[in-house]
Symmetry: C2
């Protein structure tokens, strides 16, 4: 396809869906081979013990990149593996058609054959993810979305799952909400480091109403899956009400953000503004490394779904700390 040819989004969507299944199959074969062969995956240390990359990871990225470059030679490609081996992590997504791929999200999970691993494929136009495909081979779930065509589980069940009508956020949110969060890789024991700020925020969200000097949120449940992509996919399902995280990269979230937005969710920044009660709620920047996602919400008699989402954003911002994640050099 020449670069000036008009883009048929349905064609790209069908291609991406099949690509997700084929890539998921490679991940599936990988863990089964390890299960038969015994032992842990061969792995090399990157930055720390928590940051391990497997051969399968690289194989899947090479497979996906080759397939895309054959079918759409003019498209740009950004993959987690090739990208993170480079010297910088500049934000490189512009207006041109770009594929942004995490061949294996939940690498730690994959090494341990903990079910929450997936391949995540996004197609981006004018800086916006317009197609998102997530395939979780261990659970045999495919999540897919394309701009204007809705978000789907296994191509048949539209998201969010509960949709006739879609429930509003609880009036008492974050009370009554499932809160997803991740411990991440930054485990430095600093007095006011990211780990301490995260934990302080988690405890605020979890503690009883009235506790923590009025910051207690009494969420219904706190969940940590070890996959940003699946946190977002479950948020699009409506299973996670609130996801709050810092430190991800664009390949971790591009497909999930597409999915969540097509389902009717909201994504803004994780870091609370100066005045959480009145600040404008802007869409999260794809490369901003800070994300607060709220599930799709329907209207109630008192407010629109969007109003209940924004109310929830402000209640989260009131309870969480500022995280210190930036792009290198930024």
């Amino acid at each position: 396809m020449a670069s000036n040819e008009p883009l048929d989004l349905d064609e790209v969507y069908a291609f991406a869906s099949q690509l997700g299944k084929d890539a998921g199959k490679i991940l599936d074969d990988g863990w089964r081979r390890r299960a038969q062969g015994g032992g842990q995956a061969e792995h090399v240390e990157k930055e720390s013990a928590v940051d391990i990359v497997t051969q399968t990871d690289e194989d899947v990225e090479a497979f996906v990149k080759t397939k895309i470059s054959k079918r759409f030679p003019s498209h740009h490609f950004i993959g987690e593996e090739t990208y993170s081996k480079g010297s910088s992590k500049d934000y490189l997504i512009g207006d041109e058609p770009t594929w942004c791929v995490d061949p294996l999200d939940g690498t730690v999970n994959y090494i341990h054959i903990f079910p929450m691993f997936c391949v995540s494929i996004a197609f981006i136009l004018n800086g916006e993810p317009v197609i998102g495909i997530i395939n979780t081979p261990f659970m045999n779930h495919t999540f897919s979305a394309c701009r204007g065509r809705g978000a789907w589980l296994n191509e048949t069940q539209q998201l969010p799952l509960v949709r006739n009508p879609i429930p509003p956020l609880p009036e008492t949110a974050p009370k009554g909400c499932v809160f997803a969060c991740e411990w991440g890789k930054d485990r430095r024991d600093l007095a006011d480091g990211n780990l301490q700020r995260k934990v302080e925020s988690f405890v605020n969200m979890a503690a009883e109403i009235g506790g923590r000097d009025g910051k207690g949120g009494m969420v219904h449940g706190v969940r940590s899956l070890g996959s940003a992509t699946l946190d977002l996919a479950y948020c699009a399902m409506g299973a996670v009400d609130i996801w709050w995280e810092g430190g991800c990269w664009e390949w971790d979230v591009a497909a999930g953000i597409c999915l969540l937005k097509e389902a009717g969710g909201l994504v803004t920044t994780a870091n609370p503004p100066e005045d959480p009660a009145t600040a404008r709620i802007d869409d999260a920047k794809l490369g901003g490394r800070l994300y607060l996602a709220i599930r799709p919400a329907g209207d109630s008699t008192r407010e629109t779904g969007r109003q209940s989402q924004e109310r929830t954003v402000r209640e989260v911002w009131r309870r969480v700390r500022h995280l210190d994640y930036a792009r290198p050099g930024a």
Copy 2:
């Protein structure tokens, strides 16, 4: 079957397996009906906003109880719903054949249609769980185990998944381990309450080596699924290396403990003894409400699998706080 008739464990196992699938189907129908019908599940508050029981929960327990009493009229039955509605939570499991059932483990998950919910069925002889069946309808996974017959995923894949050979625990454990833990329902903001002790323990396990006054464990990942049963099932798979939790009841853990033990895992108490380095490592009491589970482990050149499990138990005990959970009146 008369009570003095000899017990055919294979027959009971086959019956329990089918029962798990049938009960899982009711859970599956339940969430699908809610997805179609809209809105949240009808629910009534029990002890707090985090403790919600759905009608489906009671339906599944009634179904399971009826099936068991028809097939094995002399067997005892303890189910979460009937039990927790009573005035006391005395430990009632004796030497006689007893079924211990959680019709819906992960109730919060189920309300939100977060995938980690399941039915958990255990059959207990002489106080020991000898059959365990766990069915997770959203993910279509069945875990099953019977004394002397191994532990299985979907009846075809023996557990742990990696088994030729089964890997030993890492030499640096808990570093390199997946650590599963739950925030639970006790969210009181007390200076030294269970919530604070849990969080302190989680952070010790997560923080870098050398951090937290030498207690930093730098686990590979921290995971919270919201289901004790699935934490144990994933531990039997080998996906979770360490699960540490207080506050569960016997119906939450009976099937999972059977599964884990058949797979080769270890379960002892969550609460560290006075001298973690030398204390005897006894099996957890089924009704003890405090559990530390370690995945199946193979021998290495330096130590047996059991030795590496015990070494890991001691390293966890060194990093966790004493939790305050007892049976009412105990």
